[in-house]
Symmetry: C3
Subunit: 162 residues, 3 copies
């Protein structure tokens, strides 16, 4: 094995707790000098949404696409837990414990991931299906499809689907 | 690394959206000349069900096995979404958007997987627990257990659990 | 490839069926002389809980931590299914079929994993967030964080997130 190894993570789930796991693993690997690529697809795209909605409404979305993008959480900190969410109360309470225990929120983990140079890719096919436009996602990410993801796995020894 | 690399995917989940992700990755890899093995276990077995129920009722199933196999979706296109399913309405609407955006359904993805020679294995232990007989599953698949799956991972660089 | 290969499994989910899958893969690999490390995090920690609650109440837990650890299933055999759980009825019925088909329960799979020398690690950060103390978990496990997990993946060819 070489000293620098690559890792890829597909972030499919939009659950707050799974997103935490994804970013904690990614940031941990980057801190150990591994190259890390995160590929955000389906509900996982919610983590990449801008906190501020774009001023102009997105054009070219069908009614159904508007419905899906409307249902998707508006921001990483609005994601629900996979268990015990209770309409957001569970996440609210977990975040209180996390703060007391000095555990970073998903937004803070995302910021750290950017600072560490983790490559974040938004899945363009999922964006089409869920009706999410580039203007709704944060800056500094890449846009690509499954072929790019597969290319990233070529020299990776850890490839997770979360 | 060699030019041909293997990939394995355990398809555990019976959610329509996760199944799409599994097949899109598998088909993408096969299109790039990788060998791909998909191992269908637990709720993932629903994707391999024949659209036509066998004429004769399966014999030798206990009442509980009949119950589980009765609850499991009858066909890939009847699977629910992991989020926003709303008793099938979410899947129905997502499929409408997919059609407009030229995204393949799970049935079409499965057909492509067969054409590309992807090896599809049904987990026999799960079939026993859920009371699913071979006569209920599509042709051209293999039947095996965890040892076969592990053997398939030996030369694989990507091994996902979906 | 060498004849002995390593495998790692992150056990994130607290679903009975996913836990079965994790242990069946881990035990299968150990039976084939692979080194296996299981890293239990978030809801997956429930599998490592002692059947007998410690006599003395845990001290130093905040109210919210008590709430989370109180909601988490008390024991592996109390975990729910990811589908068709129906407040435990689904798990109860699945376990009846499993017994008839000679499929091991999660507790039995866990015992086998220990006998086979599988390394089981409890994620200390998750323990803090969910308010789970070491006195609540079974003996013979290790305690560590994400850096230890990543170290375990260095020579592993199979790294799953379940």
């Amino acid at each position: 094995m070489t000293t620098v190894s690559k890792k890829t993570i597909i972030v499919f789930s939009g659950d707050y707790d799974r997103m935490m796991a994804a970013f904690i693993i990614a940031n941990g690997a980057a801190a150990m000098d591994d190259e890390v690529t995160m590929f955000f697809t389906f509900w996982g795209l919610a983590a990449l949404r801008k906190e501020q909605k774009p001023a102009l409404p997105a054009t070219g979305k069908s009614g159904l696409q508007k419905m899906f993008s409307g249902m998707l959480p508006k921001h990483a900190e609005k994601l629900g837990l996979s268990k015990f969410n209770f309409a957001g109360a569970g996440r609210f309470m977990m975040k209180k414990v996390m703060k007391a225990e000095n555990v970073m929120t998903v937004s803070e983990l995302l910021e750290t991931a950017r600072e560490q140079g983790i490559k974040m890719i938004a899945c363009t096919m999922s964006m089409d299906v869920l009706g999410i436009g580039k203007e709704e996602l944060i800056d500094g990410i890449e846009y690509a499809g499954v072929a790019t993801y597969l290319g990233e796995t070529d020299e990776s020894n850890v490839n997770l689907f979360i």
